[in-house]
C-alpha cells in the first residue's frame, strides 16, 4: 500500500470488517492504526506483539517495533518469515514468493569461486533447480528452489551469512 488510506477507506474497512466473522482486527498502515474487537479479550500493546492474540489480520510485513527496537545494534533481515499469516495475506502478485534458507550457514550463488552463478535473476527454475549452496561448518548443502517460477531477485549477496528461514530470493510463481 504505497499511499495512506483516506478517512473514507477507514470507514469502509470498518463496515467491511463488521460484516466479517473476525473476532478482532488490527490494521496498521504507516502511522494509521485501526484495531477492532468483538470480544472482551481486546488488543495487545506493542510489547506483547508476537504473543497472546497477536495474530494480526493484516500486517505490512515488517518487524513490529517491539522486536525491531530490541535486537540491538546488529541489523537483522527477518522479513516476516515464520509468520504463516503474513504470507497467506500477502498479495502474491505484488511481492512474489520467497525462497527461504532451510538452514543457517553461508550462502554461495556459485559452485566455486570464479564460476558462473547457478541461476541469475530473470531465469526460470523448476522445484528441483539448485539456486545456491549453504555451507555450514565446512559442509556444503545444495539449495533448491522448491517451487517452479522465475527468480526475480536475490535478497542476499554471495557469501553472506544467513539464518534459518531467511529469504534468499524472490520468485514469481505465476510467471
Amino acid at each position: 500500500m504505497g499511499e495512506q488510506p483516506s478517512w473514507q477507506d477507514v470507514l469502509d474497512l470498518i463496515a467491511q470488517l463488521n460484516e466479517s466473522d473476525y473476532e478482532s482486527a488490527s490494521v496498521q498502515v504507516g502511522d494509521v492504526s485501526i484495531r477492532l474487537s468483538k470480544n472482551d479479550v481486546g488488543f495487545d500493546t506493542p510489547e506483547s506483539a508476537g504473543r497472546v492474540g497477536a495474530q494480526p489480520l493484516i500486517e505490512t510485513g515488517f518487524d513490529t517495533p517491539a522486536t525491531a527496537g530490541r535486537v540491538g545494534a546488529q541489523p537483522r533481515i527477518e522479513t516476516g518469515f515464520d509468520t504463516p499469516t503474513s504470507s497467506a495475506t500477502q498479495p502474491a502478485t505484488a511481492l512474489g514468493d520467497t525462497i527461504d534458507a532451510p538452514m543457517i550457514g553461508v550462502f554461495y550463488r556459485r559452485p566455486s569461486p570464479g564460476a558462473a552463478p547457478f541461476v541469475e535473476p530473470g531465469q526460470r527454475v523448476e522445484a528441483d533447480t539448485t539456486i545456491g549452496i549453504i555451507e555450514i561448518m565446512k559442509l556444503m548443502n545444495p539449495i533448491v528452489a522448491g517451487k517452479a517460477g522465475v527468480i526475480t531477485d536475490f535478497l542476499v549477496s554471495d557469501a553472506d551469512a544467513v539464518e534459518f528461514g531467511q529469504p534468499l530470493a524472490t520468485i514469481n510463481t505465476s510467471a
Partner: protein, 454 residues
C-alpha cells in the same frame, strides 16, 4: 572487533535468561542462538542479537552441534555457554568450537567423555577413592549365596545387557536370590541374547545429595556445599535445597572430600556437580555420577553462599579469574528452590502449553525468580515443561520453609496448569518440614493424597 567479548547462549528458557544476565554482569555481549519458536522470546529480547539456528523442534535446532557452531562463528563469539540439557554434555559441539578457536563454557571434551559413560565414571570414582555401590558379576547363576552375602540385602539382579529398567529384579533375602537367579539368567538369554547377570546393592530409602564443585582446570577445586534434591517424581527433581538438611559432619565431609578428589583426578574445569546417594537406613554413601554442566538447581547454592556461578563459568572460559571465594562447608543461609513446571499435578503431571494470561510473582527479601515467562507469553509445546524457578532464602531452614510457603501462595499464573499445588502440599507436609526424606518419598505420598481427595 570490539574489546567486549561476545558470549553465544546456546540454550533457551530460564537458563538462557540466566546466562544473559551473567554475561551482562561481566561486561560481555550476549547473543542468543534461538530456534524459530524462540526468536521473539523474552530471552531473545534480552540478548544483544538473535541468530535463528533452525526450526522449532529441538532436534532441528538446539540439538544440532553444527548449527550452534555456525551461529558462534557468525556471532564472532569468544565463548559458547550451552546451559544444561541439549548439547551441554556432548563433546561434539565442544570439539567443533575448539577447531574454530572459540571457548567452550564447560569441562574439556575428554572430561565429558570420561564422566558421560556410567562405567567409565564409576572407574574414575574408584580411582579417586570415592565410595561406589557394591556390585559383582555372577559367574554361575546356580551358585550365588556367597555373592549375595558379599553385596548385602536388599539387592538387585540386573541383566548386564538389559537397560531402561528391563531385566531388573529386587531380592530381599538369600532364598529369593537362589530361586530367582537362574530364572533371571534364562530370561536374559531370551530377552537380550545374553544371560550375563550382575548383583547390586539396593537402597530403597536413600536421599539424593549432591555437591557443587568448581574446578580451575589444573586440579584445584572450590567446593560450594551440598544440595538435597530428594523430592523427586520418577527421577525428576521437584524441589532442591541448600544445604542438605540433617547431614552429620562426618557424612558431609566424606561427600565434600570425595568431590574434591574427583575434581583433582579429572583436572575438572568449571562448574560441575557430583551426585551421591545417601542412605537413611545405613551409613552408606554411594557415588552416582558427575554432571559436567551448570545444573537447574544451581541458584540455591548461589543464594546460600552469595556467589555467581554462571559468571564464574564465563570468566574462567574467557581465561580470567573466576572471582570465587573459599567458603566453609555449611552456608550461612538456607535456600529452597521450587521448580514450577507447566504440568498438571492432579492429572499425572501431564504437560500443557498455551498462553500465560496473568502472572504475578511474590516480592520481598530473599525471593529470587529465574524465568523466561511473562504475562502474555505463549508457553511453547516443543520443549521441556520448566516455566520458572522460585528460589527463597532465609536465615535457617524453618524460616526458609515458611518463606517458601508464603511465596508459593503468592504466585499467580493463569492460563496454564502448573505444579504450584504440589509445592504447597509438599512444603506443608510434616515429613518435608522435618527434612531428610528419601527420593522414594514423593511418589506414594502424592498418590495417597490423590486417593484421599476422591
Amino acid at each position: 572487533m570490539s574489546d567486549v567479548p561476545v558470549i553465544l547462549v546456546a540454550n533457551r528458557g530460564e537458563i538462557a535468561m540466566r546466562i544473559i544476565a551473567a554475561a551482562r554482569r561481566i561486561g560481555a555481549s550476549p547473543v542468543l542462538a534461538a530456534s524459530v519458536a524462540d526468536k521473539d522470546s523474552p530471552a531473545a529480547r534480552a540478548a544483544d542479537r538473535v541468530i535463528v539456528i533452525g526450526a522449532s523442534p529441538a532436534n532441528q535446532s538446539y540439538l544440532k552441534p553444527e548449527q550452534v557452531a555456525q551461529a558462534a562463528v557468525m556471532a564472532g563469539a569468544a565463548a559458547v555457554h550451552p546451559g544444561y540439557g541439549f548439547l551441554s554434555e556432548q563433546p561434539a559441539l565442544c570439539e567443533l568450537l575448539e577447531e574454530e578457536g572459540i571457548a567452550w563454557v564447560g569441562p574439556r571434551p575428554e572430561t565429558l567423555r570420561a564422566v558421560g559413560d556410567k562405567g567409565s565414571a564409576r572407574q574414575v570414582a574408584i580411582d579417586a577413592g570415592v565410595p561406589v555401590g557394591a556390585g559383582v558379576e555372577i559367574d554361575d547363576p546356580t551358585n550365588v549365596v556367597a555373592l549375595g552375602e558379599q553385596i548385602g540385602y536388599p539387592l538387585l539382579i540386573k541383566a548386564i545387557h538389559g537397560g531402561g529398567g528391563r531385566g531388573i529384579r529386587l531380592v530381599t533375602n538369600p532364598e529369593e536370590l537362589v530361586e530367582l537367579a537362574p530364572q533371571a539368567a534364562a530370561e536374559a538369554v531370551a530377552a537380550f541374547g545374553n544371560g550375563a547377570l550382575y548383583l547390586e546393592r539396593y537402597y530403597g530409602r536413600a536421599r539424593h545429595v549432591e555437591v557443587q564443585v568448581f574446578g580451575d582446570g589444573e586440579g584445584n577445586a572450590w567446593i560450594f556445599g551440598d544440595r538435597d534434591c530428594s523430592v523427586q517424581r520418577r527421577h525428576q527433581k521437584l524441589i532442591e535445597e541448600c544445604p542438605a538438611p540433617g547431614l552429620s559432619e562426618k557424612r558431609r565431609q566424606l561427600l565434600h572430600d570425595s568431590s574434591r578428589a574427583l575434581v583433582k583426578v579429572l583436572r575438572y574445569r568449571g562448574a560441575g556437580t557430583v551426585e551421591f546417594l545417601v542412605d537413611t537406613e545405613s551409613e552408606d554413601v554411594i557415588f552416582l555420577e558427575v554432571n559436567a554442566r551448570i545444573q537447574v538447581e544451581h541458584p540455591v547454592t548461589e543464594e546460600a553462599f552469595g556467589v555467581d556461578l554462571v559468571a564464574a563459568q564465563l570468566l574462567l572460559a574467557l581465561g580470567r579469574d573466576p572471582q570465587l571465594p573459599d567458603v566453609g562447608p555449611v552456608p550461612p543461609a538456607a535456600v529452597i528452590e521450587m521448580r514450577i513446571n507447566a504440568e498438571d499435578p492432579n492429572a499425572d503431571f501431564q504437560p500443557n502449553s498455551g498462553d500465560i494470561t496473568r502472572l504475578v510473582w511474590p516480592k520481598g527479601p530473599g525471593i529470587r525468580i529465574d524465568t523466561q515467562i511473562e504475562e502474555g507469553y505463549r508457553f511453547p509445546p516443543f520443549y521441556d515443561s520448566l516455566m520458572a524457578k522460585l528460589i527463597v532464602r532465609a536465615h535457617n531452614r524453618d524460616a526458609a520453609v515458611a518463606a517458601a510457603t508464603a511465596a508459593v501462595r503468592n504466585v499467580t499464573i493463569d492460563g496454564l496448569k502448573t505444579t504450584l499445588p504440589m509445592h504447597a502440599y509438599v512444603l506443608a507436609h510434616p515429613d518435608f518440614i522435618a527434612g531428610g526424606i528419601p527420593t522414594s518419598w514423593f511418589g506414594p505420598v502424592w498418590e495417597a493424597r490423590k486417593e484421599s481427595l476422591t
